[in-house]
């Protein structure tokens, strides 16, 4: 007989200090004799990462943020014994400092629509019982007992679901191709090789709701006619691997995997394969090579994976987020799913909102929402006093969308048209202190390491682009650099085999397209207006504004600022390393960024700067 509890305490996420928090809560409840009444549940990511660990107490729906170990006795005493909320732990709206006690009233959540992440943070990801209790495996049961594979595929087609890994190929069509492909042995594969810097949607999903991925994959296996599924997870995600493994074991015990699933006669099994973390292995053909135990290099795709993929058998590969969309589609129907989103992009998409916003985290929004709504309403806008400059979507191979285009709806077509892409769901918000040359250089540097080296255009072209970008940011840019960059970018795009090479120039092309004058300033004026490229800038005290408070003197790691109290201070340009510490601490805007050429140092009249040619390996 199931045990009934009067309250559940949900602790998110699975990282940081949550494990200690869980044991402290359990201890305290035990000590107070409440262990039989109140259940503590460890759940997956709730997405509100800056506020973590977060605690939700049900049925009251009380939502505590940034909970410390020392808060535990008070929470137990006040909320669980006396039924009162601990005011200081409740979420406060940053702008108004107004307390919002229930999580669904918080703007961060109220603008979201959670289909894929429906269970993340709501259930214990290790418990198949909780997954079943919230409606899990109903979709699989329905499919196996009352639908033919063709009907399943038709339903997915009706839903308009497209690949969530980034390219956006129609999922139903992929399934149909695989089903119709010749051959007895076929495979379904879930791509959990998430590699974009700053993106963790797939990790949160695999950790927080592993059964949803398993159920989707099993339904896919039935639809395309196979008995074997694979989940490819990078080894940097140990908790995802652990939760998926235990989920597979439990599903076997319950007869939801293995032979004769749910007594239907359908046999299906899933294996987990760990990848070594190469970015290129997120590319479908490279992933399959890696699955086979070979070096993860892409191959030409004139033959589709749906005809000859893994071990030359027809293979259907989808992102884990795509798979997790399948159970709700089967439960509620393709038409329901197609009613969400825009004309050609249906449903919702999970994004990792990071960078210069107040509430970074994991979010899920309906397609067609504008970037502005995401950044301002869900993300809470830029930190005080800053302005949004651009939003980068699609990971390293995506592009930067300028602030003037924030009303762009988020869907596959609009993002591609704007020179970026949907990608797997990274979304980096940049403010006015971000240098676009530096950003392009950062992503190109990442891609230089991750290019597998098979195509010379990608291998060499990216490296040359990096050299030019590094030179520009070091003050060694020369006229004509921009044109060379453009021509290199187009060549890499044109002549590389796989998606990595084809999209690698995007960061350069999109920043050149929208922020060309910033590149020109770096080269012609030798100045970085954002104040990032240290070789091109100097910090200067504005004497009229400086009240001589001494904050900058304390902040300077070089002891390079001098001055007496209440008199304007001065920066020693020889000692200055352009770290910006003084700029950050000054409350009066009395420190400004100027071109290096604007300051004079010492008696020789030079600016104290000797350019050093950076060596690019």
């Amino acid at each position: 007989m199931a045990e009934l509890y009067r309250a559940d305490v949900l602790v998110s996420c699975l990282h940081g200090r949550s494990p200690e928090l869980v044991s402290a809560l359990k201890q305290e409840l035990d000590r107070r004799g409440l262990a039989g009444e109140v259940k503590v549940v460890e759940t997956g990511c709730r997405g509100f990462c800056t506020m973590g660990p977060v605690l939700t107490i049900q049925p009251n729906g009380i939502f505590y943020t940034d909970v410390q170990l020392a808060d535990v006795p008070e929470i137990v005493e006040e909320t669980l014994v006396k039924g009162r909320a601990v005011q200081r732990l409740l979420y406060k709206e940053p702008a108004t400092r107004k307390v919002i006690p229930n999580y669904d009233a918080i703007p961060f959540y109220s603008k979201q629509m959670r289909i894929v992440l429906r269970n993340c943070g709501m259930i214990d990801p290790q418990s198949i019982d909780e997954y079943i209790a919230v409606g899990g495996y109903e979709a699989l049961g329905k499919v196996l007992s009352s639908m033919t594979p063709e009907q399943v595929i038709a339903e997915v087609q009706k839903s308009g679901l497209r690949g969530r890994g980034g390219a956006g190929f129609a999922t139903g069509r992929k399934w149909e191709h695989t089903r119709k492909a010749a051959g007895e042995v076929k495979y379904v594969i879930a791509n959990g090789d998430e590699g974009d810097p700053g993106a963790f949607m797939d990790r949160a999903l695999m950790e927080g709701d592993p059964y949803a991925v398993l159920e989707g994959l099993t339904i896919g296996g039935f639809a395309v006619g196979t008995q074997q599924g694979y989940i490819y997870v990078r080894d940097e995600y140990p908790l995802a691997v652990q939760n998926l493994r235990s989920a597979i074991d439990r599903a076997h015990e319950y007869g939801l995997l293995g032979s004769d699933v749910l007594g239907s006669g359908f046999d299906f099994d899933i294996r987990i394969v760990r990848g070594a973390g190469a970015f290129v292995c997120g590319e479908s053909s490279a992933l399959m090579q890696s699955l086979e135990g070979k070096v993860g290099e892409p191959r030409a795709k004139h033959v589709h994976a749906t005809d000859r993929g893994l071990w030359d058998r027809p293979s259907c590969l989808n992102n884990v987020e795509t798979w997790a969309n399948i159970p709700p589609i089967m439960n509620k129907g393709g038409e329901w799913f197609a009613s969400i989103g825009t004309e050609r992009s249906k449903g919702t998409k999970a994004f990792c909102l990071v960078g210069k916003v107040r509430n970074p985290g994991l979010i899920e929004v309906p397609m067609g929402i504008t970037l502005r709504e995401i950044v301002d309403d869900i993300g809470g806008g830029p930190p005080k006093g800053r302005e949004i400059k651009a939003v980068q979507t699609g990971g390293p191979s995506g592009g930067c969308i300028p602030a003037s285009m924030l009303d762009l709806p988020v869907d596959y077509e609009s993002l591609t048209e704007a020179g970026s892409m949907m990608g797997s769901g990274g979304m980096i918000v940049m403010d006015d202190r971000t240098c676009m040359v530096d950003i392009a250089r950062y992503f190109i540097d990442f891609l230089k390491d991750e290019s597998c080296g098979k195509c010379s255009t990608c291998r060499e072209g990216i490296k040359r682009m990096l050299e030019i970008l590094t030179n520009i940011s070091a003050g060694l840019g020369k006229p004509g650099d921009i044109e060379v960059l453009e021509s290199l970018a187009k060549t890499v795009q044109l002549a590389s085999l796989c998606g990595l090479g084809k999209s690698a120039p995007n960061p350069v092309l999109s920043t050149l397209h929208y922020f060309r004058e910033e590149y020109e300033k770096h080269i012609a004026e030798q100045f970085c207006p954002a104040g990032v490229c240290r070789a091109l800038i100097a910090y200067q005290v504005v004497a009229e504004k400086c009240k001589g408070c001494g904050l900058c003197i304390k902040a300077c790691p070089q002891e390079g600022i001098s001055g007496t109290a209440r008199q304007p201070h001065a920066i020693d340009q020889v000692k200055c390393i352009q770290c910006g510490a003084c700029f950050e601490v000054c409350r009066l805007d009395a420190i400004q960024v100027v071109p290096r050429s604007a300051v004079t140092v010492g008696s020789n009249g030079g600016n104290g700067y000797k350019p050093v040619r950076e060596v690019v390996r």
Binding site: E37, Q58, G83, D129, G135, E138, L144, S145, L262
Partner: protein
Amino acid sequence: MPKIQSLEELRTLRAQLKQDIKARTETSTTITVGMGTCGIAAGAREVMQVFLDELATRAIDAHVVTTGCIGMCSKEPLVDIQQSDGPRITYGNVHPTMVPRIIEEHLIHGNTVQQWVVGQLA
């Protein structure tokens, strides 16, 4: 764990498992037990435990929540029952032995146990 053999078996299992996550799902009934110092001293914890056990055994769709002192300490343990849009009925001096009858008559048959009611909020 025996393997689940059909969709029906899965649904039966789900109905049982739903008890486990009762606190997180919407129910039509809220049972509020007064658990201030006065309530606890008068035996509210035992009363609440019997409510939890009875609801689990009978698989009744209801939440049990606690609250602090409402001021009527002489009538503790106080138990309020609110069903969807209905009035909030308060029972006073509730003893664990009274719980099965309250559940039977009030929750299942929809008749308040008038003799134990101390008040009601429309």
